[in-house]
Each structure stands twice: as C-alpha cells, then as structure tokens.
Symmetry: C2
Subunit: 463 residues, 2 copies
C-alpha cells in the first residue's frame, strides 16, 4: 500500500460534521434500519435494541460501544506475506473496478465476460504494482452457472494471485464459501481469524436497509473474523435525500448500523466506513458520476470516518462514458482525485470502470494505471531538501543563462531522477506480460479444488 | 474569480521550505542574476547592488525590503467593473491557454492561426464564466505582421471583452503599447496606475537571467503601475538542476530578482510569484508534462509564495498530446489538480493547451471548461448543513427501503440541487454562441484605432 504524506482535505467545519453525526444517530434511534434476516434480528434483540417488525432502532449507547470495539487500523495478510496491507491511518490500498456484467473487448466490443476474462483481470491485478488488493468478480463470467460461479472466481484469486483480496461473497452462503476457501489457503479458520486475509464488501440496500443476502454475508464474514467494508452506494434524490448533508447522515447511519451488527457477531472484527454519494439528475432521471457534489461528499465522508476513528473506503474512477475516451478520463479523474484526497484507506474501482458500473474495460484499466503511477509519487510527497537536492554547486557551475544538461550534478543524479508520468500509458498487453504465476502449494490447490467440486455437486443436487 | 474554501495542500515541512528560501537568497547573493538591459542595471547600481558585467548580486536586505513593498493582494479592474478580480488570498482567477503558434482546426487539422482565430478565442474567453481573465495572444495570428500584431491582439481584447486581461507585451516597446492602449480604454495612465487593469507576464530566461526584452517589458509595466507576474517556466535537468529542490530554489531566486527590479522602478507595484517546474526525460531529451514531480513542485511553489506573502500563479492543464484525446485529458488533469490545490491565485493555461504549448485547440478548450465548472463548485466547497439540507423529515417520510423521488423534500429542493458535471462537455460552438458583445464607447474605440494606425505607420517607416 502507499504511505500518504500529502495532507487530507477537510471540507466540513467541526460544527457541521458534528451535526451530520448527530443526525445519523438520531436516524438510527428514531427511524431505524431494516435487517430482513432473522439471525441478525435475534442478535439485535439480545442486545436490547428496539424492534418493530424487521426494523431495528439503535440507541446511541449501543452504537458508541460498537464503534469502540472496531479497530482504527488493521492488517490484511497476503498469501505472499510481503504483500500484506495495513488498512487505516496514513495508508491507502488500491484495487481495480469490480462487478461489471459486461467487458469492453478491444476487438469485439461490448460483450458478456467469460471465465477466461476473469482470470485475465485477476492476473493483471496481480501484475500491476499499483494494485494492492486483488478481487474476485472484476467481471461476472457469463459462461459459468450463476449459483456456483462465485466459487470459481474466488478460486481464481487464491490460485493466480498472492495479494490480499475482496471475495465475491454476496449472501450468507457464498460469503461462507469465500471464508472456507480462504481458510484452506491460509492454514485454517483459526489462522485467518487471528490475521484476516480478505475484505468482505457489504452494500446496504439504501435507504436504511440490509436485505437477507447482505445481512447474511455480513454475518458470515464477521463470524470468521474477516474485515467488513460497509459500503452504501447512494444516489441523492433517489436512494438518499436530495442534497449532500442528508445523504451523508444516511450513509453514516447505514454504516453504523452495519458496524453494530458486526460487533454483536464478533466483537473487535475490523470494519471499514465506505461511502459513495452520487447525484441523480432529476430532469432526466439519470445518474451522474464525478459531479462536484460527489467530490465534496467524498471529502466530507472521509472526514467523518476519521472523526469516528474508522478506516475509510472511497473511490473510484467513476464515469458514465461507455468507451475509454477523453470524457471517461475527465470524469474518472474528477472522481478519483477527491477520493484520494479524502484520506481513503481503501479505493475500489480505481481503474477500468466504464458506463456507470456496467462495463469493465481492459484498455481503460491500463490508462488508469498510468494515473495511479503518478498518484503514488504525488501522495507519498517525497520532496527531499538537502545539500545534494538543492544543487547549489550545479547552480554555481552553470550560472546565469547556462544549461544543466552536462552539469556534474545532473550526471551524478541521472538515475535517481526519472520522471513519473507524462507519456501516456503502456498497452494492457505489456502490463499483463509482467504477470508471474506466484504458484501454490499442491496440497492446498488440491484441497481448494476438492472444496469446489463438492460445493458444485451440492449445488447441482439442490438445483 | 472563485473564493476557494477548500484547504491548500502544504507539502513541505517548515524546515524544508526555510531551506529552499535560504538557498534562493544565497543564490542571489553569490551567483546573482543577469539583466541584459542597461536601464535595469542602472537601477540596481543606484540601489547599491553589486554588479559584475550584467550580472547583479542582490543582498538579502534589498530583497527583503522589496518583498515588503509588494502587496499580498490587489485588485485588477475590468472594463465592466463587475468583472474586476481580486488577486491573492483565497481567490483564484482562471484564464485559458496562450501563446501557441498553431491551432488545431476541428476541420482542417493543425495549422497556423489567423487574426480571425484570435478574435474567436477572445470572444470565447469573454463568453465562458469560468474564465475571469481574458488574454491577448491566445494564439499568434500568422496572417498579421510580426512587428505590429501585438497591437491587433491587445485591441481585440480591449474591444471584444470587458474582463481584466493579460496583454501580449514581450518587450519594453510592446509592453508600453499595451499600457498606452489600456490607458486609452480606462481613462488615462493615472487612472490605471491607481487601479490596475492588466497583468503583465514576464518570463525570466532561466537559469537566473532576464534578457533585454523581458527586463524591458517588466520595466514598462512597473512604470505604469501595472501588476507583473514573474513566471519562470523551467525544465529540470535542462534550464534548472535535476530534481525538485534546486529548481524550487532557482525559481524563487528568479522571481525575487524580478520583484526587486519592479520595486526599484515603482515601489508598491503588485507582483505575482509564478512557477512551473516541468521535467526533462534525460533518456530521450524530451520534456514531460504533468508528471508527479511537476505536481509536487507546484504544491511546494504555492506554499513558498504564501510564506513570502505573495499571490501565486500556477497552472495549467499541461500535456504533450497533440490531440484532445484521453491522454491529453489525463495529463491536463494530473497537472491542473495540483495547481488548484497549491493555492494558486492566478491560473493561466487552464484550458485548451495541447502538444507542449505548441497548439491551442478549441475542442480541448471546451472539454476543459466542463472540468472547470466542476472545480468551481468543488473549490468553493459549499456544503451546507442545516435542518433543510439534513432532510430528516424526508428520511422519516421515506423510511427504510423507500425512495426519495417523490418525497416532499425532493420536490421542494428540485431547483436548488442540479448536479454540476458528469455529462461530458458542450460543443465549443455552444460556448461561443453565448458571447455577447460588451460594446465600447465610440470615442474610446476611435482613440484606440488611431493609436493602432499611428503605431503601424511608425513600424512601417522603421521597417
């Protein structure tokens, strides 16, 4: 991951941030959050929360106790320990986009993805040093059965990459599969509970609702001690109030409700505050990405997460453009800059996103990697000032009107001073060519394959 | 201009910034700065500076006294007083690119610009609200005689725009013309000395050198009390030492030498600290734009200017790409974001720049305006948090799992909440269609035309 030395941008005066937080707590006490999943409701009831049907009202005492249990930083282990990442504090870990139902094929255009595409993206993510986290489900392979494709996607990541990862998990069952397979690859459930190896993504169904699948997924991760990223993805005027303050309060309430459930399942399980507030254009009903409001809300969300003592997930390079053109690049960077300046500790969708999440493009991904290379240096803000870098000897040698091309100082520093950026991007094939198979212990691989085979048999019987 | 509420990004610990400033002062004392212009040398000699040929060594006392005379903020008046801009403090004023020897014609491709192109860009700059400063010489009309085209370009701005502006002025004589024409348009030399109407750009010939034309231009502006933007434009490893710290020290020294001369000519004349540090790739000898080093140097320069109590000029949307493609957009935004976060008070080249300053593109300009619209809202960071914006009533009304599309709060706030950005850009023709001729008093116009005719006659006689 990167160690960010560039300061974060706080956009909210303290008084405004306070007010948003108080509104979130009020929402949880007065309106509540729906959890359409009986095991979750049982836990809330045991904890003394007030239930009305499947709507849970949480008092601020319970929320505060849950927040205290969630660590401000934590570590996620990679299959190669050198690739482990710290989540929180001054660190930021980057991942490409995920979840798209289409790929933009450089030759054949927009089409459903295949299992082969999925492996390609997993390898590409492994190969590019600017990605710190790999991801199952960068695209959704259309040639694999729906009920079991999560197993194949998780296997791809565990087999072809040694970076920590986001599993597919989108229900109690599939998240349990993710955890089981990770346990096989990393020495058992106890080992991964001690040192987490994956980041589970849980999206509330905004406003203020976790459905059966999401609440179930959350509980599966928490039971296994795996970190949970609570990630509302809202549109103001649609799934959140119009304007930004209300959407920020709602996002905060949804995250806090999720964190409370995680901590009831297993106290101390790491949680990440996620936020992505986009705007609907109510004149045509269309979502707009990378607006000014999106950027401001991203900065404000990061600030609120910091105040709550939680790692923050922001991102990414959002755009509505269906092709990797100048518009796509403009929107991506108008969204990605605020995410990186927000103090986000995890950025998903940092590369390859197109058409409002419908499309993953390998060409756009390669373009975005060029920006990430520049961001890496910029955010680490390494600007040494010492005798050698001040170069007064060179300035004396060259003097007014001269030229530094042949100066002793230039020749001495030639290797250390290669510029980063400003030359466009390498073709995606070049990035992929750098891929090296990290290998896998054959007994582990056999065990993973056995698990896959067994679960597929069960699915066939059930189907 | 915009009132920026987003915090600035300081990248240098105080100790490092101190060291760069001390190195700059040392450079001026020990190496000195060349002024290849006898009137400037006379002023320096009278002020007690040590001269060796045309190299002037400035002691830190003289430099400090000059700095104290330069105001931290000042006002530049527009022909329409409502378009006057404050330079410095929390303000930022934006201008499109300038000085390109080619235009990229949307139909005919890259070609030499004409006088008609120049008028088109002046009108476009007048029409777009995100440009606060107009500019003579956005392109260099190839169909006008070299010796007098500055007159036509300055006239275009004075006639077709009522915004404050950058004149062409690139020598003692042509800057005197700029001042004289501005005096005609704004009520005389005394009036413009009391309240400046233009921003003169003076580029040192790095390293540490002002040639006859630039020193002469500087003195013409200063004599007329017009603000001077001291703008080194250096390439590390070529016109500045390799690495960033030395280039920052050199840039600071060049700016301070220029400011000292301005204050010797006319104490209290406003000065702007300018900086643009780009990197040469010494493997192929090519300049690279929008690198990580460029961004860091921009942020550091803004910080140094703030410490010196000077307004800062940064910018702009730099790229080496010859066409307005995704690469051009990526590089532009990787350069423009740091400029805006550096606390720049004046940003030149914010739109329309291509091919390393060789080309102005009207299509790229329109693309960049879309980003500027987003920047405007982002930088003003207007995120109200009050009862209405928190929308708790809407959240209570809609409740878990609902939808805000028809909520009373949504309908009530519909007009106030249009998203900015996320829809690409309008065609440049649309931007130009919004142009309205601001008109000009006919006696002023006649006087300007008389001045042009007289100066052109003189040039013909001299030629």
């Amino acid at each position: 991951m990167w160690n960010v030395r560039l300061p974060r941008l706080d956009v909210l005066p303290d008084e405004r941030a306070d007010r948003i937080e108080r509104a979130a707590l009020k929402l949880l006490e007065e309106v509540g959050c729906r959890f359409a999943y009986p095991p979750a409701l049982r836990l809330f009831r045991q904890a003394g929360a007030e239930l009305e049907g499947d709507v849970v009202r949480l008092d601020r005492g319970l929320v505060a106790r849950s927040l205290e249990l969630a660590p401000p930083t934590f570590r996620v282990r990679g299959r190669d320990p050198a690739r482990s990442v710290e989540i929180g504090g001054e660190h930021v870990a980057i991942a490409p986009t995920g979840g798209a139902p289409f790929v933009l094929d450089p030759e054949r255009g927009r089409r459903p993805p295949t299992a082969e595409d999925h492996r390609t993206f997993v390898r590409l993510t492994q190969a590019v040093p600017q990605f710190h986290l790999n991801e199952a489900g960068i695209v959704e392979p259309d040639d694999l059965p729906v009920t079991t494709r999560h197993l194949d996607m998780d296997y791809d990541v565990l087999r072809w990459s040694d970076k920590p990862f986001f599993p597919v998990g989108a229900s109690a069952e599939s998240s349990r599969d993710s955890v089981e397979m990770a346990a096989i690859a990393f020495g058992g459930r106890e080992a991964i509970a001690r040192e987490p190896v994956l980041l589970g993504i849980v999206n509330p169904i905004s406003p203020l609702q976790y459905d059966e699948r999401m609440a179930g997924s959350l509980m599966s991760y928490a039971q296994a001690g795996q970190p949970v990223v609570l990630m509302p993805f809202v549109f103001t005027g649609g799934t959140a109030p119009l304007g930004l303050a209300g959407a920020l309060a709602q996002t905060t309430a949804e995250v806090l409700a999720g964190i409370t459930l995680v901590q009831l399942v297993r106290p101390g399980t790491p949680c990440v505050y996620g936020s992505s507030i986009s705007e609907l254009d109510l004149r045509d009903g269309r979502p707009r990405f990378a607006t000014a409001g999106h950027g401001l809300a991203m900065l404000a969300s990061g600030q609120i997460a910091r105040r709550l003592g939680l790692p923050f997930r922001g991102g990414g390079g959002f755009t509505a453009s269906p092709v990797p053109d100048a518009r796509a690049m403009q929107e991506s960077l108008m969204a990605l800059w605020p995410a990186l300046l927000s103090g986000a500790n995890v950025i998903l969708h940092a590369a390859g996103w197109l058409e409002g999440s419908l499309v993953t493009s390998i060409e756009k991904l390669a373009q975005d990697v060029a920006a990430l290379e520049v961001f890496e240096r910029l955010l680490e803000a390494d600007l040494p000032v010492d005798e050698e870098s001040l170069a007064l000897d060179a300035l004396r040698e060259v003097g007014p009107g001269g030229n530094f091309l042949g100066a002793a100082h230039t020749l001495r520093n030639l290797r250390r001073s290669s510029p980063v950026g400003g030359v466009g991007w390498r073709p995606w094939q070049d990035l992929l060519d750098a891929y090296e198979d990290p290998g896998i212990d054959s007994t582990v691989d056999d065990a993973l394959r056995d698990y896959l085979a067994r679960r597929k048999r069960e699915a066939r019987r059930a189907g």
